[in-house]
């Protein structure tokens, strides 16, 4: 951020657990209510404007 390189360290503890659980849910298609609402929200946001990548 703003040109500063912050140290990359492995993610630990509860943070790592949350990531593992979410990746597991995505890879096994066992999405929970929060995951599904996140997808719905993203779909809604994508309809705000049209996008054109040049």
């Amino acid at each position: 951020m703003l040109g500063f390189e912050t140290q990359k360290v492995p993610i630990r503890g509860d943070f790592a657990k949350e990531i593992r659980e979410k990746i597991f849910r995505v890879n096994t298609e066992k999405l929970n209510k929060s995951d599904k609402s996140e997808i719905v929200r993203t779909k809604k946001v994508l309809k705000r404007f049209a996008a054109n990548w040049k």
């Binding site: 912050t6 096994t28 404007f49």
Partner: protein, 194 residues
């Protein structure tokens, strides 16, 4: 200036730039970021692996961002810590092998995202993030995460914005640092086809 949310008639053009001079008249209103964009972004473009883009509406730059290759790494001690009870146990069964299979994941870092001060509060930032996700889903199927170091100072914090965009902190706040590392899992493309 009619650009408002929920109007699919407005097209936003995403264009990669190599020359930061196009941002000479772009101001996001956050002094530190504006200083960076106008004085250091060019050397950053020249010297890093990041790709910098501007977002235009009818030829006017309404936002800019940079994307960099990144890696999200999980500490390998966690598995042992969880098994001996030194770390919280997961809510899913230990017998699910996939749970511990991977410790490193390809990611793309959203290095900078700045919306023009004249175009804030119109949902552009959230839209840009969703579009970036879409592009990554289509072009880089191995990438499962979008990461960001959310900027925070005593007078400004982007953390709430990124939380609204479904980013989650991957660390505890560090008082001596003005950023917080956050991540977002990219759901597969199939969930967005309808």
């Amino acid at each position: 200036m009619q650009l408002t949310g929920n109007d699919n008639n407005f097209e936003l053009e995403f264009e990669r730039i190599e020359d930061a001079c196009v941002l000479l008249n772009f101001f996001c209103g956050i002094n530190e970021m504006d200083d960076f964009i106008h004085s250091k972004l060019q050397s950053y473009i020249n010297d890093s692996d990041c790709k910098t883009y501007v977002v235009k509406s009818n030829g006017t730059i309404v936002a800019m961002f940079s994307l960099c290759p990144d890696m999200l790494s999980l500490d390998e001690d966690d598995e042992y810590d969880m098994k001996i009870g030194a770390a919280p146990k997961p809510r899913i069964a230990f017998t699910d092998k996939q749970f511990f299979t991977n410790r490193e994941f390809d990611a793309i870092e959203l290095a900078y995202l700045a919306v023009s001060k004249d175009y804030k509060k119109r949902g552009i930032g959230e839209f840009v993030i969703s579009e970036i996700e879409n592009k990554i889903r289509i072009e880089d199927k191995s990438c499962q995460f979008l990461t960001v170091e959310a900027y925070k100072t005593p007078t400004y914090s982007a953390i709430g914005f990124y939380e609204k965009c479904h980013f989650t902190p991957s660390e505890l706040p560090i008082p001596t640092r003005n950023t917080l590392k956050m991540y977002k899992v990219l759901f597969p493309l199939k969930h967005f086809k309808d």
